[in-house]
């Protein structure tokens, strides 16, 4: 299958890469399967603690800010941006929020787990996710005991994490809750702890089978029993198509991807490979189908400016833009596309664009510092290559007119605001 420059560019952008003309040119020599393998097998960056973690003078808050900034920087610089993109996906899928969890170490551990298995085995990821203190605390399983089961984790495990509504009964919810009793945290060691004495060892009927179910057995059954596994494969495939391509996958593509995922015993890399090789992934609908979520927007800016998150402070504006890392809005995580388009979310992007403008000025790295020596058209072309964006003819006119107006008005010194303006073009906000 021959690849075109447009295909390469599209695949690189959606898998998290900066699609520079040089890189696109180099990779266009590969055929599509080889290109996909190149992306899937790129080495991920090593896990390194931010230096603030070992500084006793830093507060938990400062450590958290450092962790978030490091995460943004990883998204911008990792040699496997796909792993970072998938880490963000799992953060919005197997959700915990620092708001409720309260311990940074638990959130860090959870995010690192998601990164470790980001494109690995979904079964391993799901089993490990269930035992992370952040999850046990967020969905209250830490207090789920045989003396009175509580359903929070049991329900979301089936509804949001694996199968979706309609694939289990209310009795299943009751019984899965009993199966998960006893799994909690050790508050002295701040680690996962299973307490046999709190586990309900009685008979439970789950998915029509009566036995002495344990929690991990429930996950294992959901992810391996053929009928359940197919449901899971479709559920996850659909969500990932919506994350990478566009909402509402074409049925044939979904079926093929889910079948491959199920047949691979839920190997995430297999799912992604199948998806990236589908012709539908390169349709006009797919190419025009995504809004950059705020983290992707920030990443694109970090790459274009060659600045660090510690300099641009995306954490000051991410809540306004609608995606605050470590603080998903609820247990269903973030939605996509239209979810990030609202008046206040646009105000958030506007605030961030202004912040970037000032930070570049302060650092002496503003690309438009000598703007007055160039023609309006040249400045707009400079912005297009700097931000790696294709402006439509209409947008090009708007940007050109902006410079013309500043030159005829009394505020020539505001010409460099072409940069935040270009960051606010609709073209820069689409993926």
């Amino acid at each position: 299958m021959p690849t075109t420059v447009i295909q390469v560019r599209h695949l690189l952008r959606r898998t998290g890469y900066q699609a520079t003309p040089t890189l696109v040119g180099e990779l266009s020599t590969l055929d599509l399967p080889a290109l996909v393998e190149w992306i899937l097998n790129a080495p991920a960056a090593l896990e390194v603690d931010p230096v603030e973690f070992s500084d006793p003078g830093k507060s938990d808050w400062e450590k958290q800010v450092a962790f978030i900034q490091q995460w943004y920087d990883r998204m911008a610089t990792s040699s496997s941006p796909l792993v970072e993109k998938m880490t963000l996906f799992w953060h919005g899928h197997f959700v915990s929020s620092a708001e409720k969890v309260g311990h940074l170490a638990w959130m860090v551990s959870q995010i690192r787990l998601y990164r470790q298995h980001a494109i690995g085995d979904f079964k391993v990821l799901t089993q490990a996710m269930a035992l992370e203190p952040a999850m046990l605390e967020y969905l209250d399983n830490s207090s789920n005991t045989k003396y009175g089961a509580q359903q929070n984790f049991a329900r979301e495990l089936m509804e949001l994490f694996t199968m979706g509504v309609g694939n289990y009964t209310e009795t299943d919810v009751d019984e899965v809750a009993r199966a998960w009793t006893g799994h909690g945290v050790d508050w002295d060691l701040m680690t996962y702890k299973y307490r046999e004495a709190r586990h309900d060892t009685g008979l439970k009927t789950i998915f029509g089978t009566e036995k002495r179910w344990t929690g991990p057995e429930v996950i294992d059954t959901i992810l391996t029993r053929a009928d359940k596994r197919d449901v899971v494969a479709t559920f996850i495939s659909k969500k990932l198509w919506g994350f990478f391509a566009h909402s509402n996958p074409p049925p044939a593509a979904l079926q093929a991807i889910a079948a491959a995922f199920s047949a691979s015993s839920l190997d995430i890399k297999t799912l992604l490979r199948t998806m990236f090789l589908r012709p539908e992934f390169y349709s006009d609908t797919a190419k025009n189908g995504m809004v950059r979520n705020p983290a992707e927007y920030v990443t694109a800016v970090l790459r274009a400016t060659q600045m660090t998150a510690a300099e641009l402070h995306p954490e000051w504006n991410d809540d306004n833009m609608g995606m605050r890392l470590l603080y998903p809005p609820n247990v269903a995580g973030w939605k996509t596309n239209g979810y990030f388009i609202s008046t206040s979310a646009m105000a958030g992007r506007g605030d961030f664009a202004q912040q970037v403008h000032w930070a570049l000025n302060k650092a002496g790295k503003h690309p438009l510092v000598d703007s007055t020596k160039q023609t309006p058209a040249a400045l707009v072309a400079l912005m297009a290559s700097y931000l790696e964006v294709s402006f439509s003819p209409g947008t090009t006119t708007v940007l050109t007119n902006f410079i013309t107006r500043t030159r005829t008005g009394q505020h020539k010194w505001t010409e460099p605001m072409l940069l935040p303006l270009a960051m606010l073009t609709p073209e820069f906000s689409v993926a």
């Binding site: 409720k100 209250d140 207090s143 789920n144 005991t145 045989k146 003396y147 009175g148 089961a149 509580q150 359903q151 929070n152 509804e159 509504v165 009795t171 919810v173 006009d284 025009n288 189908g289 995504m290 809540d319 306004n320 609608g322 809005p329 609820n330 247990v331 269903a332 939605k335 596309n337 979810y339 990030f340 388009i341 609202s342 008046t343 206040s344 646009m346 105000a347 958030g348 992007r349 506007g350 605030d351 439509s392 003819p393 209409g394 947008t395 006119t397 708007v398 007119n401 902006f402 500043t406 008005g409 505020h411 505001t414 605001m417 606010l424 073009t425 609709p426 073209e427 906000s429 689409v430």
Partner: protein, 803 residues
């Protein structure tokens, strides 16, 4: 500054509203967009014309919708404390009987809901019990989507919600008809097929609020994305529209943000919700949310339901206290949540997802009481679930039919039996129950006096005396430098040529007249008094003349606003001038003098924009008036005191400080002596804002026929009464009237516990009725009053306090 165009098609709908009296909505918006705040807005409005236009109808209902995310436990909100099963099924999390705010022998409210209980007792809260659906879903998201969609039709309704469809149905849609306060997406209930709410940042300064010309150049380019962008992505057009809308929202809502606010994010959202309505920008639905009700664990612990319901209760209290009394009869608040909780508690001292729950509606037109029936705690649906006695879409039907207006059957896809949740329709007069008044201190802006009413000369009203039992209305908003968002106006009101003894009451147009008076006069007497007149949606004040016919004069001298401005420091009274003693002596006919007011009598030498004075005229030789104004400015056509020969007349005067830190005094005819006592000063560094309250008569010695006896001080408690907080109030604003004094004399008011100063607040002759506004510091929450000799009846109306 560039004459920029802030309009897009949506904003244009404001701008093309009928132009009454020469004030155009466009100018109002331009002024606000200029960002210089309310003061600049006022300066762009031509003087002497009507208030800013109301872009929504007088009888249009406004809804505050409060989403309680996570599934609020109805059993611990409206608590069935009389039901033994409640305690036996959830022993760890049940609210103890002695903590329940009792409604009747069966149910009561959560102890967190003290404000809700107060309004319930006032007949203004409808509690809908057992609300849910016949086919409950226990997924947060499915259930919430069902509630938000609010659709009962056969063909599914995807991607839009009940209020969104209501927005679609409006014949005059508008960008700001529905506003969700928060970040991220617009919640589904506010999304229609073609229309949707906008979201508003709870904090100010967002994209579009810049004031400079270069900002406007930048914004113009952003607007052009919408008209000229032509990319192939389906998302570029929505992105461009949202950006453009954000510019409109920021420009229009800029004055809604307070200069400072101490509360948390939730409190801020409720406060902004009320201010959006007060701002009169066409908004009919405001959405706020409180999340975290998914209490599987530690329901009554940290971050538990008790705490969240307290946030709700505090939020509602703040909302209604911030909402201007004139908007209250057009506003209702409603809560909802995706489901309730199971009856049985779980092992984590929490409760799991349930079915039926309760919700509430609150407002002056709501039919208070318990609605529908409480679900049985013993006859349950499978999985220990409460059965709904009423469908949530029946509630929506009532809200659409009786409050918002619309075709509920079309909007909900099915004809649901409505509940009787409203006693009256939006805008009806509310019998019996007084409005909730603001508790947030306002700051004070002094103005050079401007006459807005003079019935002798046809200013502000026809040129004839006001008859007995007659009320006239005077437009004050946008007039004489009073900006659109002023909460109250300070006026010097004078009654003259009354044909019989009577009184004048001034109050906000649109609400019931309070039992209080501002001026009392005998036949032929001329009596002035400073009046704080609250302003509401109409921007008008009503003036009532009780008997005989009288001419009324009103001069605006300042206003109160919640924007940044001056704050008041009350000081112990000090005498700055007594022309009877030393130079320059009495003021001659047409004469004027200047008086330094800074750096004297406890007033700082700098940082003072105006002073609050008690000015007394004594021994005048002829009928005349006295004008107090800022030195160095042209003398305005206004009066601070009016008097006839030999009369002694005091009046509280707020005077802007003019050139050289001085004020000027002018006597129109004859010669008169003048006494000036300073009682406070106003400036950016002042101590406290002023909170006007609904007038409350604290004292009327006529009621017990126990007049004040001369030579003896009495204390009057202020703190904790009539809306004044028990702690935190620093001064009282009182309208004090002396009537039937047995001899000529004076009355002094000062902070209790301090030595009585050598000043006076009211001066009178035998048998005279004299009112005066009094601002006095509080001592231990009290003021002291002293009548110098003889005896006299005293009436004290509380009109405000400083905090």
């Amino acid at each position: 500054m560039l004459p920029f165009d802030i309009s897009t098609s949506n904003a244009l709908k404001h701008l093309t509203a009928p132009d009454v009296g020469g004030v155009s909505r466009r100018r109002f918006l331009q002024a606000i967009a200029a960002g210089a705040g309310a003061t600049a807005a006022a300066s762009l409005l031509p003087g002497g014309v009507a208030e800013a236009l109301s872009p929504i109808g007088e009888r249009d209902g406004i809804l505050l919708i409060v989403m309680l995310g996570g599934g609020n436990d109805g059993l611990n909100t409206v608590v069935p404390y009389g039901n033994g099963a409640y305690y036996s099924k959830r022993p760890q999390i049940a609210i103890p009987q002695n903590q329940v705010l009792v409604i009747n022998s069966d149910v009561g409210l959560s102890p967190s809901l003290t404000f809700v209980k107060e309004r319930y007792d006032a007949g203004q809260v409808a509690l809908v019990q057992g609300v849910g659906t016949a086919s409950p879903d226990f997924s947060h998201f499915t259930s919430m989507a069902n509630w938000m969609t609010g659709w009962g039709g056969t063909s599914p309704q995807l991607g839009n919600g009940w209020l969104g469809r209501w927005l679609d149905s409006l014949t005059s849609p508008d960008l700001l008809r529905a506003i969700h306060i928060g970040y991220g997406g617009i919640p589904l209930h506010l999304v229609g097929a073609g229309t949707r709410a906008v979201s508003l940042d709870p904090y100010p300064g967002g994209l579009g609020s810049g004031q400079q010309a270069y900002n406007q150049n930048f914004y113009s380019a952003i607007r052009e994305f919408k008209t000229t962008s032509n990319s192939s992505s389906i998302w570029t057009s929505p992105l461009a529209s949202a950006l453009s809308d954000q510019l409109d929202v920021a420009a229009t809502t800029a004055p809604v943000y307070p200069a400072s606010f101490d509360g948390d994010r939730t409190a801020r959202e409720f406060m902004i919700a009320a201010r959006l309505i007060n701002a009169n920008i066409g908004t009919r639905v405001v959405s706020v949310s409180i999340g975290g009700f998914d209490h599987h664990d530690s329901q009554n612990g940290n971050d538990g339901q008790l705490e969240l319901l307290k946030k709700l209760d505090d939020g509602l209290r703040l909302f209604w206290a911030t909402l201007d009394p004139q908007w209250q009869p057009r506003t209702a608040a409603m809560t909802f949540s995706e489901f309730g909780r199971r009856v049985k508690g779980n092992s984590s001292e929490g409760s799991d997802h349930g079915a039926a729950s309760c919700l509430m509606l609150m407002g002056p037109q709501v039919r208070g009481g318990l609605h529908a029936t409480y679900p049985s705690l013993t006859t349950l649906l499978p999985h220990d679930q409460l059965a709904a006695s009423v469908d949530y879409r029946q509630v929506y039907t009532s809200v659409i039919d009786r409050w918002l207006g619309g075709d509920s059957q079309a909007l909900l896809g099915k004809n649901y039996e409505p509940l009787s949740l409203f006693a009256r329709t939006p805008g009806d007069v509310v019998p019996g129950v007084p409005p909730i008044v603001s508790t947030s201190p306002a700051t004070i802006i002094a103005l050079s006096p401007t006459r807005v009413l003079d019935t002798r000369h046809g200013v502000g009203a026809p040129a004839h005396a006001v008859g007995p039992g007659t009320t006239i209305e005077v437009a004050l908003r946008g007039v004489a430098g009073v900006p659109p968002l002023a909460s109250a106006v300070l006026m010097n009101v004078t009654v003259t040529q009354p044909t019989s003894a009577g009184y004048v009451t001034v109050w906000p147009t649109g609400i019931a007249m309070p039992t209080a008076s501002n001026l009392n006069a005998m036949p032929g007497q001329t009596v002035p008094n400073l009046v704080i007149a609250k302003l509401g949606a109409s921007g008008k004040a009503s003036f009532f003349n009780s008997s005989g016919s009288s001419h009324l004069i009103a001069d605006v001298v300042g206003y109160l606003t919640s924007e940044a401005g001056g704050r008041l420091t009350t000081i112990s009274p000090a005498r700055l001038l007594d022309s009877r003693v030393g130079l320059p002596g009495a003021i001659g006919p047409g004469g004027s003098m200047e008086l330094a007011v800074l750096g004297v009598g406890g007033v700082p030498a700098a940082g003072v924009t105006s002073v609050v004075l008690n000015v007394t005229v004594t021994e005048p030789t002829s009928a005349a008036y006295l004008t107090v104004w800022p030195a160095g400015e042209p003398r305005p056509e206004a009066s601070s005191l009016n008097y006839v020969a030999r009369q002694t007349v005091p009046n509280l005067v707020m005077a802007k400080v003019g050139a050289g830190g001085k004020i000027a005094l002018f006597n129109s005819a004859g010669r008169t002596n003048v006494i000036v006592d300073v009682v406070g000063w106003i400036g950016p560094l002042g101590q406290s804002g002023v909170v006007p309250v609904a007038p409350l008569r604290l004292l009327d010695t006529r009621a017990t026929n126990a007049p004040l006896i001369g030579g003896r001080a009495v204390d009057l408690r202020i703190s904790g009464l009539g809306g004044v907080p028990s702690t935190g109030a620093t001064a009282a604003v009182l309208n004090v009237t002396v009537t039937q004094p047995s001899r000529a004399g004076y009355l002094t008011v000062w902070p209790a516990g301090e030595v009585r100063p050598t000043t006076s607040n009211l001066n009178f002759v035998e048998g005279q009725t004299v009112p005066n506004l009094v601002v006095s510091k509080l001592g231990a929450g009290k003021v002291s009053m002293f009548l110098d000799a003889g005896s006299g009846h005293v009436l004290v109306d509380l009109v405000g306090y400083c905090a």
